[in-house]
Amino acid sequence: MSSTEQGTSSAAPAEPTTAPESAAAPEVPESFYYVHGKDKVVHKVSAGALQHSALIHGMISNLGYTEEQAKANPFPFENIDGDILQMVVDWCNQHKGKPTPPEDTNLPKQKEKLFDLVLAVNYLEIKELLTYCCKQVAMMVKGKSPEEIREIWMIPTDAEDEAAEKEAKKRAGKEAAGETAAAAGDAK
C-alpha cells in the first residue's frame, strides 16, 4: 500500500491544543488512527473526531493500539472513493467535540458527489452527517413537478418497473431451473 500520510488544509489532523475538550479536561495525550479509501491515500484522524462514526468507534474502542501500531494498520474502506472519504474526515475533524449545528451548508451541491457521500456516511454510521445529507437530498426535489422529480432521482416509470419485475421473475425462474437440473445431475 502506498502510505501517503496526509494532513489536508481543511482536514488538519487534530492538534491536541485545538481540541476544545482538552482545555477543561486534564491533559490526556490524544490517540490517532489511520484510514484510507479506494485511492489508498491515508488520513490521520484523532479518536475524538472518529467518535462521530459509530462503525469506526466500535472498531477502535477496544484496540488499545500504540501510535506505531495504528500507523501500521490503517482501516481500509475500499468501497469509499478517496475524495469522499476526505470530505468525511474533514467533517469529523471540524465537528470534533462540538455540538452539531441544525444545518450544514458545506455539503456538496453536485448530485453524484452527494449520492456517494450519503452511501459512505450511511456505511460509516455517522448519524448527524447522514441527517444533513438526507435533508439536502430531500431539498433537491422541493417544489418540483413529478416529472422533474423522476428525472432528478431517476425513478423508473410504472411500465419500466413492471418490465424489470418481469425480467427479475424470469431470471429467478431460470436460476431455480438451473439449480434443479444441477441437483438432479449431482444425484445421478
Partner: protein, 371 residues
C-alpha cells in the same frame, strides 16, 4: 442520483425530511414510490389530524389543507389562521390550454404549481370535475390512509341564489360540514329542503336563523346530522330539537317553550326518540324563568349532596375550526334515567341554560363513579 440505490433506511430518512406537498407530488411519480411513501411514513401520517377541503362556490377553487397534530393548537383556532404552510394542494378550474398531466388513481390530472412553488395545483375542466375530485381524493386515501378525518367544509351559505345547488362530490370517508344563514334564499323552506336532499348527511351544521320559517320535513337529512348548532338569538323560531336524530345539539335561542323542553326529556327517558343523543345544550335568552323549576317537572333523581358527581364532557362536534374543544362540562347532582336501557343523563341548569349529557353508563355504573 438513483434514489432506489440507497438502502431502505436512507430512503426513509430522505422522505422524513420532505414536506407533505412534496411527498404528495412524489407519490404521483410511480406506483412504487406511492408504496414506499405509504410504508415508510405511516408513523408520521398518524399526526395528521384531518385533511380538509375548502371549496369556494364562486370560482370553483378548492383548497386542501392538512392539519398536523404536532403543530401548536393555537394555529387552528380560527379559520383565517390556516396558512399556505398548511396547504396540501389547490384544485382549480382550468382556464388555459396547458397540459402537464399526471395519473392519480387511473385518471390523468393536469398539475401546475403556485408561483412560490409551495404547493401543487391540480386543474379540472367543468365537465370532468367530479371525476377529478374523486381521483385526487382516492389518491389521498391511498397515500395518507383512511384513519384520518377527511372533511368537506362548505361555510357561509347565504343569499347567493346562483350557487345554491351544492357541489359535493361523492367522496369515500368524507364528512360534510356546513354553515348556513336562514334568510334570503334559504328562508324558503323548499330551497332549504332541496339543499339537504341534494347533499349527503352532514357531520356538522351551523345554522344562523334570521327569519321565521315554515316547518321542515321531519325526515329531512338536516335532522340526521351528527352535530347541529343553531343560533337564533333574535327570532322565536321553531323547535329544531324535536326531530333531531344525531349526537350533539346546541341551540342558542330567543325563547324556548317549557312544554317542548319537558317533551324532549320525556321522549328521551321513554326511549321513544333521541337514541343517539350524547349532548344537548339549550341557551334561552328570554322567558327562561321556568328553568329553575324544571327539575320537578322532568322527574330528576339526585346524587347525595355530600358526594362529588362525575363531570360529563365530550369532544365538541359543532365547530370544525375548534378541533380540540370539548362540550361544556356538566357536573351536576341531578340526573335522569332512560327506561329502555337504564342509561343515565346528567342534567344541569343555570340562569339561561339547560345542559343534558348522556353517559354511556347504566344508573348502577354511573353511581359507582360518584366519589
Amino acid at each position: 442520483m438513483i434514489l432506489s440505490k440507497y438502502p431502505n433506511l436512507v430512503q426513509k430518512e430522505i422522505l422524513d425530511h420532505m414536506k407533505y406537498p412534496d411527498l404528495l407530488l412524489l407519490s404521483f411519480v410511480s406506483k412504487n414510490m406511492k408504496k414506499l411513501i405509504t410504508a415508510s411514513q405511516k408513523k408520521r401520517f398518524k399526526s395528521i389530524r384531518s385533511i380538509e377541503y375548502e371549496y369556494d362556490r364562486v370560482d370553483g377553487t378548492c383548497v386542501v389543507y392538512f392539519l398536523d397534530e404536532n403543530k401548536p393548537l393555537t394555529k387552528y383556532h380560527k379559520r383565517s389562521s390556516k396558512t399556505d404552510d398548511d396547504m396540501l394542494m389547490r384544485i382549480v378550474k382550468l382556464e388555459e390550454d396547458e397540459n402537464d398531466n399526471f395519473q392519480a388513481n387511473g385518471k390523468m390530472i393536469d398539475f401546475r404549481f403556485s408561483d412560490d412553488y409551495k404547493y401543487p395545483t391540480a386543474c379540472y375542466v367543468e365537465c370532468d370535475k367530479e371525476n377529478v375530485f374523486q381521483s385526487i381524493h382516492n389518491h389521498f386515501l391511498d397515500v395518507f390512509g383512511n384513519a384520518i378525518e377527511y372533511n368537506w367544509e362548505s361555510p357561509g351559505w347565504r343569499n347567493s341564489e346562483e350557487f345554491f345547488i351544492p357541489f359535493i362530490p361523492k367522496l369515500k370517508n368524507v364528512s360534510f360540514c356546513i354553515s348556513m344563514y336562514l334568510d334570503g334564499h334559504f328562508s324558503d323552506v323548499r330551497h332549504f329542503e332541496n339543499f339537504f336532499s341534494l347533499s349527503p348527511v352532514a357531520k356538522t351544521i351551523q345554522l344562523h336563523v334570521k327569519r321565521r320559517m315554515g316547518p321542515f320535513n321531519p325526515d329531512s337529512k338536516f335532522y340526521q346530522a351528527e352535530a347541529i348548532h343553531i343560533a337564533t338569538p333574535l327570532i322565536h323560531s321553531r323547535d329544531f330539537l324535536r326531530h333531531f336524530q344525531g349526537r350533539q345539539f346546541s341551540l342558542n335561542c330567543n325563547r324556548y317553550e317549557k312544554s317542548n323542553l319537558i317533551d324532549f326529556v320525556n321522549r328521551w327517558k321513554s326511549g321513544e326518540a333521541f337514541q343517539n343523543l350524547e349532548y344537548a345544550q339549550i341557551r334561552i335568552i328570554y322567558n327562561n324563568r321556568y328553568l329553575h323549576r324544571i327539575f320537578n317537572e322532568i322527574g330528576v333523581k339526585y346524587i347525595d349532596a355530600n358526594r362529588q358527581p362525575p363531570t360529563h364532557a365530550l369532544r365538541f362536534g359543532f365547530d370544525w375550526c375548534y378541533k380540540n374543544r370539548t362540550t361544556h362540562p356538566i357536573t351536576s347532582h341531578a340526573y335522569v334515567v332512560r327506561e329502555t336501557d337504564n342509561r343515565v343523563a346528567s342534567v344541569q341548569i343555570s340562569v339561561i341554560s339547560f345542559l343534558f349529557g348522556v353517559w354511556d353508563k347504566t344508573e348502577e355504573e354511573f353511581l359507582e363513579m360518584v366519589e
